[in-house]
Amino acid sequence: MDRWIFLIPLLPFLGFLVNGLLGRRLSDRAVAIIGCAAPAGAFAVAVAAFAQVLQGESSTHSLSQELWTWIEAGKLKVSFALTIDRLSGIMCLVVTGVGSLIHVYSTGYMKGDSGYARFFAYLNLFMAAMLVLVTADNIVLMFLGWEGVGLCSYLLIGFWYKGLANCSAGIKAFVVNRIGDLGFLLGIFAIWAAFGTFEFKAINDAAGSAEGAAFWICLLLFIGACGKSAQIPLYVWLPDAMAGPTPVSALIHAATMVTSGVYLLARLGPLFDAAPGVLAIVATIGALTALLAALIAFSQNDIKKVLAYSTVSQLGYMFLAAGMGAYSVAIFHLVTHAFFKALLFLGAGAVIHSLHHEQDMRQMGGLRHRLPWTFALFLIGALALSGFPLTAGFFSKDEILHVAHSGLGTVDGRTILWIIGLITALFTAFYTFRQVALVFLGSYRGAPEPQAAEESAALGLELEKVEESPLSMRVPLLALAGLSLAGGFLAIPHFLGLEIPEDGKLAGLIIGGIVSLAGIGAALAIYLRFPSILERFLASPPGKRIYRLSTKKFYVDDIYQALIVRPLNSLAELSFYVVDRLIIDILLVHGSSFAVGAIGHLLRRLQDGRTPTYAAWFLLGAIVVLGMTLWMAGG
């Protein structure tokens, strides 16, 4: 089995090549089949590999395959080598499994789009890069995958490139990511300086002896993780990334790419354990991000933006767990989150698709009658996200809260972070069911009743025209719903070899369940029965201020705009008008041609066609030569 690992990233890459180069000439059906077969094939190989890893003697058993030497320069050697152990095996399964489902969904969602083949090509390329990222056995190869997924994220966010906003969103994502990547690169250099190797195994084994260096390395790597996984202060690209097609949002910005940062921390767990200061920072930023994003999600009216901020918030939870040293708990939440967030995004996509690309929730409502399947499956996702008892999200989120409260091993429990986590869980349930209520419950606000046509201000589609989505979109939703319900029982932390102290677990589960139910109940009550409570709150001065903070996203984007974007734009304008136009174009280019012309003008007087002039130059020359001869002979 060792010899077949390379198929896991290779199959999607081949899919990319075929659909990318030949896709224009193939039928949509062929493109879809190739595009879905590639990740499905990778999934099959991943399952086989994982099964073999599970049968190994110890929990650290792994399969490795070195493909070729990539860089070799003196002592520096980096190979293209892949390894499947329990951690990367789980990641592979999630990426290929959820990825395949999303590919199938895309065949229905993207139907009729002129860039059909291009979409699947990019999606497959993304899968290939992501799989390289998770199976890499050294950090440089991982960085290759890291950059690859960043590239694909840019390509897919700006997929409908004719719209300026889409392209800007893609650029924003790439640039913000790049800032994080600087940290990552510096971390790689620091690793080389401290350890002399890039391989994860070697680094982890030697981690104990490099305390001082570990702090800086981990800090730099965490900056990289913040960029990719949308934590404070580098999360601003994720909500804008919703400009891309919904399957992209589901795959890249919910289930897989954004989790790379968490995976990085899990991979280098022993190294981070040697830097407790950084872990504290990680946990704090994770908790704060979770809270901040939840507060912004309250006021969003776009169905995808709510889910985007929700993703940022849940990623914060994962970093909170990682910051407590409980990396496998973070991975557990990563897996369950992949299931239910992909489900929610795909469900939102189904709604958008059925409403002919309406995304504003204020134009929705009462859709549960017209879209029963979508409603049921979306509801399951919402329950999982809110941590409703016994769903996958319930178990993973409570595991996180448990380690935040009681600590793990050498890391003490931090009560303040636990409280933040609990409050955020309440908010999560609230805004999630606010969304459910606005979209599916109540009555339809999108189009007027026939009688009230003249007075109504609604702009949406007539209710009768709203239809359920095709099977190609519904089956993946079903699969993901099943996983969202059953996934909690997978006990991934135990799988990954982590034993968590049990005391207080039951109490924690009960508290988590109560919080979740409270949030759900409050949201449903307010939005369905007692909207006046909300209106009174929003009319009051503190309510207005909080609402403004939330809708303006806490002014973070505006701060960045003022502090960073505008100065850089001014610098760019300066460079353009002064350096490029003035100095280079006018002074240097036109200037040099002008200088040549001027010299030519002067020199032209030498040859005026008049013989006496030439005679005079003869004389002058003769005098000069004579003078020089006398001077040299005399001296």
Binding site: R604, R605, Q607, D608, G609, R610, T611, P612, A615, A616, L619
Partner: protein, 112 residues
């Protein structure tokens, strides 16, 4: 006063300079040719002067330089000057046929 070398050379310089002035500043092409001859003759005079001067200096017989050396030199120069004058006049005739003028400033194709 006796005829010193300096005096002879002053005369030669004067003749030569007049010739140079004539070549550079006169418009009539025949005058230019005549001035050219003047320059040549000026130089001839200088050579003869040096020849005469060196005879009266001690050690001149030792180095083999004598009056006859300069005289031979000048004869050759004169012959060449004559030949050159003939060629110059032939060129003048050809140029006159083209430009129909004897003014040197009329004989140009370049516009300046």
């Amino acid at each position: 006063m006796s005829l010193s070398l300096d005096l002879c050379l002053y005369l030669c310089t004067a003749i030569f300079s007049i010739g140079v002035y004539g070549v550079l500043s006169r418009q009539n092409i025949i005058v230019i040719l005549m001035s050219l001859e003047l320059m040549l003759n000026g130089v001839n005079l200088a050579i003869i002067s040096f020849g005469r001067y060196f005879i009266t200096v001690e050690g001149a017989e030792l180095s083999g330089v004598g009056a006859s050396t300069s005289q031979v030199f000048v004869i050759i120069v004169l012959a060449i000057a004559a030949a050159e004058a003939a060629v110059g006049l032939a060129i003048l005739l050809a140029v006159y046929r083209r430009w129909r003028s004897t003014r040197v400033s009329d004989m140009r194709l370049l516009k300046g």
